[in-house]
């Protein structure tokens, strides 16, 4: 591997020697696919026939009227098969796995979206599939575990470390260093060693390509700002990448948790708590202590609850090309509730972070300005988490009754 995937010092490939040959093979397969003009067509074809691409760009008339400022548009990644942008990356990597002739895929998952997406891809392509998921996340996202298992995947709860997304990534790497001859690791976000940040961004860039074309068709002008939530950073990289050379402000919104002063958050780029480090195979901003030990993170949204962030976003933070903000848990629940009522849309808790920041800024802008929010996933499938976040008494009663039914 000669190109090690550096973005002004961020990124790289800090991999154990046993995986070097596997990464060389992956880089070759990815570069070959990228150079093959038929590959992207095959990818678009499968995304339009198996998922729901192009996803619509929905004008949010009621939200626009309410805030009385910029026109608000919403990119509907929630309408993908399995309900999130994760499908884009997974189907793309699935096509690569076929090209490499491997028969087994493994993945980490936080919220469970990437795990479910990987499991559908594995079912569709006939791959064996193992999903690593932190024990804490297994508890808070049980419905996704149910679907992964129905889809034929083996779900392994990770009991090590903080028992969330980063620990699931470590376990997936441990599996991969053992089984790399047969197995591809479908990393779910634009993090990890090269070529993952670049490759995941490449597949997710379909979001921005569509959104840019759609807004020009609908409005004839580019948006003023584009908002996306940032966990690992794949949906943000996906929608940002096609606007990179335009005069469009790009805003990434991280998990502010219980507040940036509380230390109970997952804000790597918008807080002062993170510093540059090397872990999980790449160099970026991590929430870590002075010795370099990773800290516990917190977010209401499991998919944003991660210590690191895409090295490409760290680079874009340093250059100032992307502005980073944080949304607190309670703001996220309010924005979600408001969006459901006003537009009948149900964004995932993750995606609702982007809505929080857009709502804060919409009224400052004029009616000629346009905002695009990336609704990276749908919230209705996270009913257990969302209902808890809303503290819905009727739901609680239902669950208690349901549980009694099982005990009877």
């Amino acid at each position: 591997m000669d190109n090690r995937g550096y973005y002004d010092g961020f990124g790289g490939a800090f991999i154990p020697e046993i995986l070097v040959a596997t990464f060389d093979e992956l880089v070759d397969a990815y570069m070959d696919a990228k150079a093959d003009s038929g590959f992207w067509r095959e990818y678009e074809q499968i995304m339009s026939s198996y998922s729901c691409r192009p996803t619509p760009l929905t004008f949010a008339g009621n939200l626009t009227e309410h805030f009385g400022g910029a026109k608000i548009y919403i990119k509907r990644e929630d309408l993908n098969h399995t309900g999130a942008h994760k499908a884009n990356n997974v189907m793309g990597q699935g096509l690569l796995v076929k090209r490499m002739g491997k028969k087994r895929v493994i993945a980490e998952t936080g919220a469970g979206q990437h795990g479910v997406a990987t499991a559908t891809m594995a079912a569709r392509f006939g791959f064996n599939c193992t999903i690593y998921m932190g024990e804490v996340d297994v508890e808070r996202q049980r419905p996704n575990v149910f679907w992964m298992e129905r889809l034929g995947a083996e779900v392994i709860p990770v009991k090590e470390g903080t028992r969330i997304l980063k620990d699931a990534i470590n376990e997936a790497f441990r599996d991969w260093v053992t089984n790399m001859d047969t197995t591809h690791y479908v990393l779910g976000t634009a993090c990890g060693p090269h070529p993952f940040p670049e490759m995941v961004t490449y597949f997710q860039s379909i979001i921005g390509k569509e959104a840019r074309k759609q807004i020009l068709e609908l409005e004839g002008v580019l948006p003023k700002r584009v908002y996306a939530c940032v966990g690992g950073g794949s949906n943000a990289m996906g929608i940002f990448s096609d606007f990179m050379d335009d005069p469009v402000e790009l805003v990434g919104v991280e998990a502010g948790g219980e507040g940036l002063e509380s230390s109970r958050h997952a804000s790597r780029l918008s807080s002062k708590d993170a510093s540059i480090g090397v872990a999980q195979g790449y160099k970026t901003y991590f929430l870590q202590d002075d010795d370099g030990q990773m800290k516990e993170t917190h977010s209401i949204a499991a998919g944003l609850d991660y210590v690191g962030v895409s090295p490409i976003l760290s680079h874009l933070k340093e250059t100032g090309r992307v502005r980073f903000e944080a949304a607190m848990d309670h703001e996220v629940v309010d924005a979600l509730s408001f969006t459901i009522r006003k537009e009948g849309l149900i964004p995932a808790l993750e995606s609702s972070h982007a809505f929080v920041q857009a709502f804060k800024e919409a009224s400052e802008l004029s009616g000629d300005d346009i905002l695009i929010i990336n609704q990276s996933g749908r919230g209705d499938k996270d009913i257990f988490t969302v209902a808890d976040a809303f503290k819905d008494p009727g739901w609680e009663k239902f669950i208690i009754k349901k549980a009694e039914g099982y005990n009877a």
């Binding site: 490939a13 991999i15 154990p16 020697e17 070097v20 090590e160 260093v177 480090g277 870590q288």
Partner: protein, 254 residues
Amino acid sequence: MLKSYLREQRTKKDILLMTHIVLGYPSFKESFRIVEEMVEAGVDIMELQIPFSEPIADGAVILKANQRSLAAGSTVEKCIAFAEKAIQTFNIPFLFMSYYNILFKYGVRQFAEVMAETGLKGAIVPDLPPEEGAEYIEAMADHKLAPIFIFTPTTSMERMKKIAGYADGFIYCVARRGVTGADTEFSLEFQKYLERCRSATDLPLALGFGVKEKSDIDFLRGKVDIAVVGTQTIRIVEKEGVDAVGGFIRGLRS
């Protein structure tokens, strides 16, 4: 120089033993007693692992040891102080083993400097391939410390030769795919792999991952210079206590 020490030891013994411990597990006090047991039982060289929260190359046993050590309050400073005391007390070479972030956060140059001041002889950093290690390699050379690099069964001959060009002290040959602590099949294919390692470099060869009993050491005798016992001693300590370590180590080469 580590390399010349190892060569000299090899003239006296047909195979050398390197052992590994996770510092601060079960506690620093017990870590010191484990070192004492090992040195008295004739261990030739030791790697002292500075615990890290994300040890991706390690299996369940060492992973847990890392986490327990950190939970009990281990810090890089405490590990350096431990190494200093061990080096003053025992007359064998000690290496640090850790993941790159520990060095990176400390400052790679400062880390090499403090290693040299403390009297360590080298370091093993399993998530730092030579391509990412330019600063590390230079800093280690400036302080006459050995950067130990790794060969694996998936490493091509061309790459082995390239890696050997950056390495000093010895080459750590990983026995198989996978993480630390699982069994290794010492087969004919494995023997061919060792022959490839041997022909790629003149540096002494150490073999680790899955070495846990006398028959493994017997198999490795004549094929490599150093056998590395890692996870197994942690298991011994967990099951039978610190006092059982010396007997276990003596039994490996008897």
